[in-house]
Every structure is written in C-alpha cells, then in structure tokens.
Symmetry: D3
Subunit: 317 residues, 6 copies
C-alpha cells in the first residue's frame, strides 16, 4: 500500500549559473521543481512509499521531469498528454539588494487541464495520506475543481489529507486565494502555512500561537503547522501546542525549504512519530535542504538524524 500520494505541477527550473543575469546569460542550469513533488521526494527519501501524480506533456520535456524525480527514488504516476505545455520557471539568484528573482512561464501547462477522472484517484483512495498545496487550485479553474474532488475523494476513503497554503502572489490575489482555499478546508486534516500567509491571506490576527489555535478551531483541522522562517515552526494538534526552533544552516539555495519541511514532517508522522518528533524532523531536513542546490531535498535519514543529534549534543561538527 502507498503511504502518500501528492498531486501538483512540477516545472522545469532554469537558472543562470554563478549569479549571472538572465538578460546576459549564455547558459541555464536545468532542474525539476514543484512543491508537491518536492514534498513527495523528501518523504520518499526518508522512508515513505510516496507517489507523485500530475499531468505532463508526452515529450522529452515531460520525460525530463519524471526522469529527474525518479532518480531521487520517487515513484511517478503522471497522465501523459498531447496537449498543453511543460511549465517552466526562470530563477535568477543574487545577493541583496538585487535579490533572487523568479519568472514563471507556466501558463497553459498540461497540468492545468487535469481532471480528477483521468488521474489515478484509486491510488489516492488506497493511500494512507494525500497531499497537495494552494498552488494547484490557483493554476486554472479546472484545477480548482480537480483539487476539490481529489481532497473530497481522499476524505471519503479515510485517506488523511495534508495541505500547504503556499500562497503565490504572482498567481492570484489574497482575496481570491482566501475564497478558493477556505472552500477546500472542510476536506483537510493537516494545514501547513507560513504565519505570514495566515495573516495576509486568511486574515488571521493575534500572536502566532493564537493564530494556530484559531485556525484549528475555526476550520476543525486535526493539526495546524505554522512555519516561522528562521524562527522555526509551531503546531497545534488536538489542542496541544508544540514549538520547534530552526537548525542553523549556511544557505546555498533556499528554494524548496518549506517543502522539505513538510515532506519530512509527513514522513515522520506516517512512520508513527508524534508531532514534536515530526516538527524536529522537518526542521532538520529544511536546514539540510538549504545547503543543496535545486528545489529538492536530496537527503538521507542518516543525515537528518545526524543534524538532530549534533544539535542536541551541543557539539559542532
């Protein structure tokens, strides 16, 4: 039986090397990147039977995506299509004040036409967990419907559902996001959100703990995980609050940090860990991710545990 199915868009990420500008670069580095596959890979590498599904063009570019994801040990089960593009995004890394900049080129991607009936919905029903994020319904009206149907199908089949708010201002406004996303919350067991998005999109108020408790109460989530950037994370689960600080890290590539956190959190929960252990596992994996080029946490459980042990023992390596 599958432990975790995730659904969402995976793009080809194109980035100039060595902080070169997009305007002048003669070369682009190529990687697969997408929130839901990032989560699935992190979970898979940490012991979970994880499957990622999506809709991809039946082309070398679509194969570029599955090829890389499978190289990390992930099972992929996408629908292949003759219509729709392969979504891409360009990322220009730079120090401040230039700052890292992202240009999406994901309109009309094949995934935007994915309907629930063509996706492997039986695998979701038979899986222990299902995960998607707030990026998916933002991509098209069809995907808004599909996301709702998949979450509903999962819940009906007693598959646990996890959902990361993942607000993207380049895709929609806070108000539009709020309306769509809150409509999905009735199907969600575990909500993950950056505290900033909780305030900005969900109009949450008060301090962090109050926000987590209020979200849990208002929408009836079993678990609410609030990510706090450099200050770690906190969770309210069945009314109990747990805090986790962040592990120190030297950042090479910050993209995908949140997904690494969620993937490891889910892996630990699926493996029977309690909320505290899962937050700690998530935070350690997130710290490792930031040292790794690309969106994806190419880690091992030995490495994650070593980060936790080293920090606990107070010994710097």
């Amino acid at each position: 039986m599958t432990d975790l199915v995730t659904f969402g868009e995976t793009m080809i990420r194109l980035s100039p090397p060595d902080d070169e500008r997009l305007e002048t670069t003669t070369e682009l580095e190529v990687r697969a990147a997408g929130a839901e596959s990032n989560v699935a890979v992190a979970a898979a590498r940490l012991g979970t039977e994880a499957v990622w599904t999506s809709k991809l063009p039946d082309s070398p570019l679509g194969r570029r995506v599955t090829s890389e994801l499978e190289s990390y040990g992930l099972e992929t089960d996408p629908v292949l299509s003759d219509e729709g593009r392969q979504g891409t995004y360009y990322i220009e890394f730079a120090g401040e004040p230039r700052g890292t900049d992202v240009i999406y080129d994901r309109a009309d991607a094949a995934v935007t036409t994915a309907r629930a009936e063509e996706l492997p919905i039986e695998r979701i029903r038979e899986s222990e967990w299902f995960y998607t994020s707030g990026i998916t319904p933002a991509l098209s009206d069809t995907l808004e419907e599909t996301t709702e149907e998949l979450l509903r199908a999962a819940r009906e089949a007693r598959t646990k559902t996890a959902f990361d708010l993942n607000y993207r201002s380049k895709l929609w406004s806070p108000a539009a996001a709020r309306e769509t996303l809150t409509g999905l919350f009735e199907h969600v067991d575990v909500l993950v959100t950056a505290v900033r998005d909780a305030r900005n999109v969900l109009d949450a108020t008060g301090d962090r703990e109050a926000i987590a408790r209020e979200l849990a109460d208002e929408w009836g989530f079993e678990t609410v995980v609030l990510t706090l950037g450099a200050e770690g994370a906190l969770a309210v689960h069945d009314g109990d609050l747990t805090r986790q600080s962040a592990f120190e890290t030297e950042t090479l590539d910050p993209i995908g940090t949140g997904d690494a956190f969620v993937g490891a959190f889910l892996a630990k929960r699926i493996g029977g860990g309690d909320i505290g252990g899962a937050l700690e596992y998530g935070a350690a994996t997130a710290a490792l991710k930031r040292t790794i080029p690309g969106d994806i946490a190419v880690v091992t459980s030995v490495e994650v545990e070593s980060v936790i042990d080293t920090a606990e023992s107070g010994i710097s390596r």
Copy 2:
C-alpha cells in the same frame, strides 16, 4: 534612412550541449533565434542599415533577445508588452539516425498579439526594403492580419518587399499555408522559397527552372529565388534565370542557413549588386553560417568575400 526593416518572432533557443538528450540534460545553451532577425543580422553585418521589429515581453527574457541581437550590431525596435510570453524553442542536436529534433514552445508569445498600429510602421514606409517570412502569419490570426497590413503599407510606400515562404509543418498544414500565403503574394516583390516548399505548399510542378519561372509569372514577382540545399540556388529576375552552386562547408550547426542566405542576398541587392552577385554573396554567407554555432551568421564582409575569392581561384586554404 533605413535600408531594411524586418518583422517577425525571435525566440530564445535552448539546446543541450554535446549532443546530450533533452530528457537527461542538466544544462542548456541559450541563444536568440528567429528567421526575421537572423536575416536582419546577416544583412546588418554585411553593410546594411537594418532594423528588426517585433513585440516582446517587457522582462529579462525579452531583454535577453534584444541584448543578443544588438551585440551583433543590429538595431532593434520592438514593442514591449506586459502581456504574452517570450517564445522559446528547444533543439536537441544529434547525428543520424537520431537526427536533430526541435520542440517549439512559442504558443501565446507576445508577438502573436502584435497589431500593425502598434508597430513602427513609419520606419517600414521610410525604409528601402521590408522583409518578413511565412512563419509570421502562421503564428496567430492577429499576425496573419498584421503581416498583410505591413506588406500592404510597404508596397504603398514603394518600399520593396521580400518574403521567404519558410514553411513550418509544426505550425500549419500545406493547404492552410497555401491559402494564407498566396493571399499575401500580391504585396511581394521578391519571393524566396525552398524548391521543396514550392512543390509541397504551392503545388508547383516541373523542374526547378520551370517552377521558378511559373511562380514569377503566376504571381508577378519581380524576383523569385529558389533555394536548393546542397545544390545551391537559382533565381528568375525580370525573366532572366541565374544559377548559383553552393560553396563547400563543414557543418557544425545548420540552423539559420537559409536566413543567412537571404540576409546576404538582400545586403548585396541593397548595395546595388546584380542578381548573380547577390546569389553568390548569399551562398558564401550560408556556407560560413554552417560553421558557426547558433542560428545567426556572425560574419564579416571580408570573410564572405574571402570565401568567394578562394573558391574562384580554385585554391583551397
């Protein structure tokens, strides 16, 4: 005064190095590429005051295109737009029997919305020549109209018009191309076409000479240039036929060979050369192009003339 204005889409060309497959590559080489800018650059480098116009996204990707074109000495005068993508294409180079493969990702490019009234139509009217190709009207209904309007405006202003049939089977069928393109022919002074496309798209029959004469007669072109691949080219101009054989070349990158030919042909004509000299100049530039990576003929007139002189003197370098 401008000698030549060209109008059309310029894409970002992405290619894996060293015959690597798109499915597995970790790197892509980046270049600007488009038939009409290829022609304009070749002409500009060979002494023509050439301007390329188009519609581009106002983004680093749009600037990537103008930046590279201007590096070759071309003047660019594009409309910048907040709507529409930057078109791209992926090209996987390979020996036979794998063969080089192209994947277009140009749908919904900004240029597909370009209307005549937003383009620098006055520059076309004041230019000596105007050039576009059969790719342009294939890209959108809007561009079909725009192409017709620009050609018409040029002719009304006594700007000479040159048009390369440039049939692309990935964009439309021969029948659709025929219907649209022949509708434009009344505005065209100089038609360039591969003999293969003349047969396949225009239903031309007979031997090469017959085809050239028949096209000239049927549509009233001042000049018809038929390109013959490794066998060179021939032209019918005011009823006279001229033949030009191809120069020997070691091919590194064949893309853009035809555009190099046309750009050099126009440069020579604009500079007052006769048809024979222009064909020879085109053929020599085309031979040089094939030794140069990328779509664009980064050549000098000294080099083109050296190719001609060396071949004439029978001395191998």
Copy 3:
C-alpha cells in the same frame, strides 16, 4: 510479473571531456555503466518490465549508480553492503591512431562478493527472462559460482535465460573464459556473441553461418545471435537462419552498442516478436545508441520504429 531480471556489475564511468587526456584533465564526466544494466535500461525503455539487481556499497557512490539507472525508468533491486568498493572505469576518448582507451578500476567491488542467497532470486524465478553476461563470472570466484546458481535457478523455474559472451581481455584469457563460460552453457537458452569472440574464445571455425549453427548444435541453445559489427547480425533459432544488416549511424560514443542491441532484441522477443523483428529492433536501437553520449540507450520505441521505417522507405530524413 516482471518480464526481465538482469544481474551484473554497474560501474561509475569517468571520462575527460572533449578528447582531453586523462593525464592532463581537470574534469571528468560521470555516468553509470554496466553491460547488464545497459541491457535492462534498453529493454525497459522499449516496453519491458525490467529489473536490475547487483550488490552495491551503501554509499553516495552506490546511490549515484541507482539514481542514474532509475532516472531512465529502470527498476533497481540491489543488495546494499558495507563492504566492497564501488567499481569505476576511466575512458579516454580519442580519434585514431590514438584510439579510445579504457582503464578498469573495478577490483574488490562490492559485487564481487555477491552470493546467490543474498540476491533477490525469487524475482528471477518469477520473471519471464533472466539475463547476465560473460563479464560477471570473470569478476571473482564468488561471482563465478553465483552466476552458475542464478542461471540454474532460472532454468529450474522455467525462466528463459539469455547470455552475452562479452569477452573482456583485460579480465581473463580466452582459455580461462572458455572453460568457465562453456560450463554455464547448459543453463542458457539464448546465446549472444560477437563473431570475433566466438572464434577467439570458443574456438569456433568456419564462416559466420556455420559458426552460429555449430554453436546452436553443440550446446543446444534455442537461439544463437552472432553480432557482426558494421555488418549487422545473424541468428539461428530452432534451426532457421535470419540475417539483419546494420543501420547507418554517425558515431558519437560507441560504448554500449552491443548492450543496446541485446536489450532491444529481448524487449521485442518478450513482447512476442519473431527473431527477424527482434534482430531489426536490436539493430535500430544499436544505431541510435551510437549517437547518444554514455553507455546507455536513452531511446523511445517511437524513435526505434522511426529508424526502421525510414530505412525501409528508403527516404533519408
């Protein structure tokens, strides 16, 4: 059910770029490479449910191997070990008369200690086909025994067995190879061998057809496939002889050509094809392989069929 299990060593292949010498290179390209995984990947890409098994160090280097193989769509099922190295080989590409040179650094690889009882022998028993090659028993005494046990187990379970002679003069002498390999032949259904090795190692005499028939008769193989380099291949199957010429190809990297042939031959046979179709499929895949960098035939069935169709129709692309 699995269609094909292959067993053998996969190395990390290290090669200087651009014909640079090993003595002076500052950079090495890294790829996974091994006859039995090459065969499994080719078969998997052409529609076969293929699994590769081996013994690998439980290290980043071992994971480098499985990571790349899985990126091609292959299922891997290796034993992981704390003992034994990751085998490597260095390859220096060069034109003649320098010639391409290989340096093996595979002694004491983890796989040399692989015993049948630790390998997934049940998967072999339940598979339709099992494949290994003459490289495997050459690597260690343990592997000589293991190869014999796996072939025996396969035959006992009515799993068909295919075996490529794959003589490597850097591993053993013709005499040593003959003694060991002929001892395995009683467990082999399909023998593949280069005609040169048949002569040199198996002391076969006569012309090609005679050699194929003689091998089939002497050892009772159901099928004997003789590969002939640029002259293609021929097979004797149930007493019938079939010939296949080679497809023309521009060679970028010849390593793995034979494995691509065998993988595609097996894929076609497993899919129900007859011997002639399988030889043709193998020859077309081999031709494609030579245009692809690395040991592995990263192809699709569409591409293989296109090679066959193009050649049959006499149309050059």
Copy 4:
C-alpha cells in the same frame, strides 16, 4: 541629440573562474571592461542617450568589445585602427588574505594613439555632457594631449564635463598624476574622486567636508563628489553640501562600483534630478553592481528605484 559622450579605453577582462589561480587555470572568463564605457552603460540603462568612443583594433578582439557593450544597449562610436593592440587585463579573484589581484596588459593598445582629430569630436560638441577619467591621460603622452583637447572642445561648446580622478598606482605616481590632472581641471565642471585619492594625489587635507569644499573652491568646480566606499558619498554643489550613505549589499564582484555610481549620478542629473537625488541614485546603482558579475552595472531603473524604496521604507525584502 546625445545626452552623454564618454571617451576612454575598454579592455578585455580575463578572469579564472571559481577563485582559481592564474598560474594554474585552464579557463578564463571574458568580459569587456573600462571605466568610461562602464559609466556610459550605466547611464544608458538608466535612460540616458549615451555614446562611448575610443580607438580599437579592427579585429575580432576589438569587435568583442563593441559587441558586448552594444548588448547592454549602449551606442558605440569607436575609431577602428590597423595599428595597436587590444588592451587586456587579468583579474584573479580571491578572499583575504590572498585578495583580488589585477595584472594589466594594456601597453601599446590602439587607444594610446588616439588623437582628437580622428575622434568624433562633433558628437562631443553636440552632446549635453562629456565624461572621461584620470585613467585616460595616464595611458600615453598622446592621450594626455587628446584628453585635454576633448575637454577643452567640450567646454567651448558648452557641453558639461564630468571627470573621475580614478587614480591607478600601476599606471603612474601620485606626483605625476597630480601634475597632469590638475592641468585638466580648468575644463572640468564636475569632479568625482575617492576621498583617498584626493588626499594621496591632490594633497587634500582636513576632514571630508573640508576636502570637498576646498577642491570646489580651489579649482572652481561646479560640483565635487567625494566617494567614501562603505560610508557612501558626499557632494558640494554651488557651495551646498549633500551626504548620501551607502546601501547595504552582498558583494559578488566589486570591480566597477565607482563607475556604476558615476553613471547613475550623471543619468539622474541629465534627467533633471538634483544633487541629492543623483547621489542616492548613484549609491543604489553601486549597491546593485556589487551583486553582478563583471565590471558593468547591468541594471534597470525599476531595480534602482526599488533599492531606494525598500531602504526608505525600512522594509527588508
């Protein structure tokens, strides 16, 4: 009408990648680099009609320079010559205590023979501003004369003149520089200098403000801009003093910071900005430059304004 003409040497900059040593590198990165073209590019990108003139060899190396400069949107108008080399410089980047090291190889560059009468002096006369720096007269006796003539011609035509002291200890001694440069000051409206050079070359004494006021008084400059490294800049203009602190930045490549400052300062002044706005614009552009590889500030006005706005609002991005 042209807003700004700059005159000076642009070299080819050669640098080993990744902090490799020149002694051992097998590869060099290639860029165009020169104070006066750096200034012109920065100004051009921020809205100024800027032209750079110089004298270059009529060779691929000379074209390498103009090609790159034009890719940034700069107009170039160099004299081409059959005599004289293309100047180059080698730069080895390194952390402390090794430190970044520069080796000039610019002796006998074509530009060292440039006489005023062969340069496009009419464009200077018709331009709003003219800029050169203290590097130019240091390069040859001819250039010392030429610099004087160009500045004089500009002033006679009521073209405003800006001059950056740009002392280079590898080219001349402080005493030699003082003698030559002060001889030019009568033709200069705006003097820019690092406070360190003011002290070391011009023998200025006192605190920063005193130095700026004293220089303005002594030589009658309309504006004196003193750059202070990490502490920003200050200016005395018509007797009024204005201060500007530096914007925080993560430095990737510090070369060209001062030129980015001057180019943006001039762009703002040319566009009608006051001294305070011009200093702020300069400082923000300088901060951006330090995040960009190469000598040149490949920025947009949107980016520069965003740096200013972000800093003013006190919000870190």
Copy 5:
C-alpha cells in the same frame, strides 16, 4: 643536495562542483592530493629543494599525479609499478549542517606495497630533512615497516626527520594509531600534531603548553609543534615555548591547511629561520591556502611575506 624528501601516498581527488551532491553529480573536478606531497609542494614553492617519492601505478592515472605535482615546481621521484591501483578520494563540499564529506577509495593502492629497498633511500640519506606523516603507516603493514625503515635510515644518515601525526579515524582506531606511531617516535626530531590528536591518540592531558612540553620530554623530540586550528599554533623547541596566532582568512577550501603550515614551517627552518619565524611563515601560508581551491598551497614567498607584513602593520589591504 636535496633539502627535503617526503614520502607518502598522493591520491586523485574527485569533487563535484558547486556543492552538488555525489549522488547526483554529472561532473567531478580532478586534482592531486596527499599530505606528504602537499608539504613538499609548499616547501618547494617557498624556496626549498624538495623531492616527493612514493609508489604509483605506471598508468595515465599515476601520470596524472606526477604531472600535476610537477606543474607546481616539485621534483617527483616515484617508483612506477604494474601492480596496485591509483588511490582516489571523493570529497563533497557543503555548508553546515550538511558539512563537507570525504569518501576514501584508496585500498590496494600501489603505494601500499612500497618497500624501503625499492624507494630512493639514498636521496633520503643525502637530504637535509625527511618528512612523512601518520597516514603512511596506517595504509598497510608493508608501509608500517617501510615508514620505520625510512625514518631509521634518515636518522642514521643524520637527515633530520619531521613527522605529522595526521590521525585519520577512517583508517584506524586511536589505540592502533598510538601503538604504531609511538613506535616510530624514537626516529623523529620534529613532531607536529593537532592538539586534538595529541589528546585523543596520544592520551596527552593538561593544557596546551603542558601537552607540548610533556610530549617533548617523554619522547625526546627536538621540536614539538602543536596546531590549534583557528587559534594558531605553539611550539616547544629545546625547552622554549613559542606561540603563534592564526591569520584571518576567508575559507574557500580548508583541505590541506595543516600541510601548508608544515611545508612552510619546514621551508623556513631549512632556510635557517628560527622557530618563531617558522611558525609565523607556516601560519601565513596556511591562511593563504584556505583561499585556494584544492589541497595544495599554490603560493609564492612574496605572497606569504605580504600576509605577514600586512598583519604586522595593522593595515587591512
């Protein structure tokens, strides 16, 4: 006459670029690396007539080692062998908490079979100094004997002997190291050790000074140098204690820092410097090394002296 002979293994170091993971890299950077050749190169570059000896495979890989070492100005005098591998090591650079990781692949290297009688022992006898480290006897029983014989031969010939403890936990346990290494101490004049190894391997107790004095007393070393990482080094020589703080440095590649220190220390001693001068020279060279990619201190004496002068004058460059 030779000033210094060193003996030990030099490996080929393979590292993924740009903090990429070994598991996913497609490229490895190649360098020569080994404690004893690192020391010899540093000494040679700082004015010492140094020779490195070892045993290498007579292959392109063995030549890769000598080729690179000789490029730094080192004389190499290895035995070439048809048996034994070329040792390699893989190094994956990463920020914390991932951390840099090393995988040795050095078992059965040719050097592990090196016997004293095949090595150029006469050169050691005729040299002023001989150096090896605690890595060498850890590599094989043969090398344990050989190390003892070479040190003994040196002492008998009044060649001064220097020995760096260089404990490697991946090669042996502290107890095994202690037993072997202390057996060699009777032949050693100058012992260098990290204070951490002195405690961990030699069971030294007390503060740093006490440890240095105790080691000197217990084993009769003429000089004991204790390296203290970021806190510099201290030495006890003929009963006198000297301290040296570390020079500030921006670390690009820390590997080989200790060897750079020892090589420069020996160069200064060989050139007649006192202990204090040698420690200072060592510390400055170590600081430079950390800015240089690779294991080896590619420095000049001018650079080392500049580091010392700058620090002494309190002027930051």
Copy 6:
C-alpha cells in the same frame, strides 16, 4: 648531461571552446604554446633529457607557462624579467570555409629582449643538441642577434644544432626571412622545413628530392628534413635520401603537428636511431598529436611505437 636545449618564445594560447567566435565568446581555454617548447616536450616525453630556455615575465602569466610545461615532464630554465609582456595568441577553430584563424598578441614580449649573455649558454654548450626555429629571430632585432650567438656558441662547443625554418607570414616577409635565416645556416647541422617554405622563402626549385639535395649541398647541412604535410616527409642525410609517408589520423587540433614531428625525430636521433627510424618516429608522433587538444604532443613512447607497429602489421585497431 643534457641531451637537448631549446630556445624560443612560449605564449599563452587562448581559444574559444566549441568553434565559438572570438567576437562572441564568454570563455577562453588557456594553454601554453610555442614551437621550441613543443619540440622540447615531445622529445622529453620520448626519453630525452630536454631543457627549454627563454625569457619570461616574473608574473603569474609567466608562471602559467612554466607550470604547464613542467607538468609534461619538461625541465624549464627561463630567465625571469620585470620588463616585457607575456606573449599571447588567440586561436579561433572552425571548419571550412571559415577556417581556423590565429591572432598574435606577442609584440614586446619579455623574450624579445633576451640577450645571449643572460641565457644559460653554458647548458647549451654542455648539451648534445641545441634547437631553435625561424620564429625566434623574427621576433626582434635583439633576438636575431641572440639566435645567431646561441647557434654559434653551440657549434663552437660541438653541440649539434637543429633548426626548423618555421616561416610565419604574420611576422615578416619571405625576403626578410630569407636574408636573416640564410645568415644563420652556417651554424646549423640539421635543417627542417616544410617544402612550401623552402620554395616560398628559400627560393628552392625543382621537385622535393631536388630541393632537399640542393639545400644540403648549398648550405652544407648534415641533414635536411623536408616535411610534406599529408604526404609525410623526406630527408637527405650525408647524401642519402629517405622517405616516410604520413600515418593516418583523425584531426582534432592540427596546431603543433610539425613540432611533434621534430621533437620525436630529435629524440630518436639522440637515442641513436638512424634517419629512417627518426622520420618514422616523427611521423607517428605527429599523427598522435593531431588527436590531442592543444599545441603539445602529450604522448608516450609506448603509444608512438604502437602507432608504428599497428601500421606495419597492416591491422587497423
């Protein structure tokens, strides 16, 4: 005792990768290159005790040259100077009709000031052979004198002298070359020249054999070697004529082919080989060189002999 001393300029060779144009390249490959060091390296690798001397700037660029040369096993003994540049040359590789193009940037190189009295003339006197080429006296008046003095000194000391005409049309005219070079011939034992240069520079007439005999007779050379490109070489030695055909080769980089020939020819002569053996050795080394990137024949005697043996046995590898 040294077998061979060579004297001449070694440049830094800068070439764009992958047939990119100099005008557009962002990267240059760096190598050491010079006729006389090319000869010395080839000879050294084939068993000769060879030393190369020259005059170099005392800079990282000068060290770049010696570092690379020593990596090939050559002993270098240059004078280091604070005056004069490091000569460079740019080479743009391309297929026909573009063709490979060279741009020298070697004016005012340090070597142009080298006087005999500062060079290690004693090493020449004590060497068995001395070699320089017609490039050296073309570089400056000083070098014309120096070349004459070194050749004279060699002859006086009974050191054999070999001289390659090496006419370079970018350095001087045939008439100037003839005047200078023939003035040196009285000091030359072995003259090597391309037959084309013999005709063009020395005004030799008749067929090849006649030319060789005539040169030997007219100037009293002990040996005249005429190189004939793809047709091999011939020699007249003590009145006897010997012919050698060229070995087949796949050309990657033709630069340095002649130097490889001469270095191997001299190595064989120095080792006691007869003229026929030396020509064969030269031709085989030249064939290998063409498969190796860079100017230098990084070969081994095993490889050279293998080329000869394979060709003799008529077996293609």
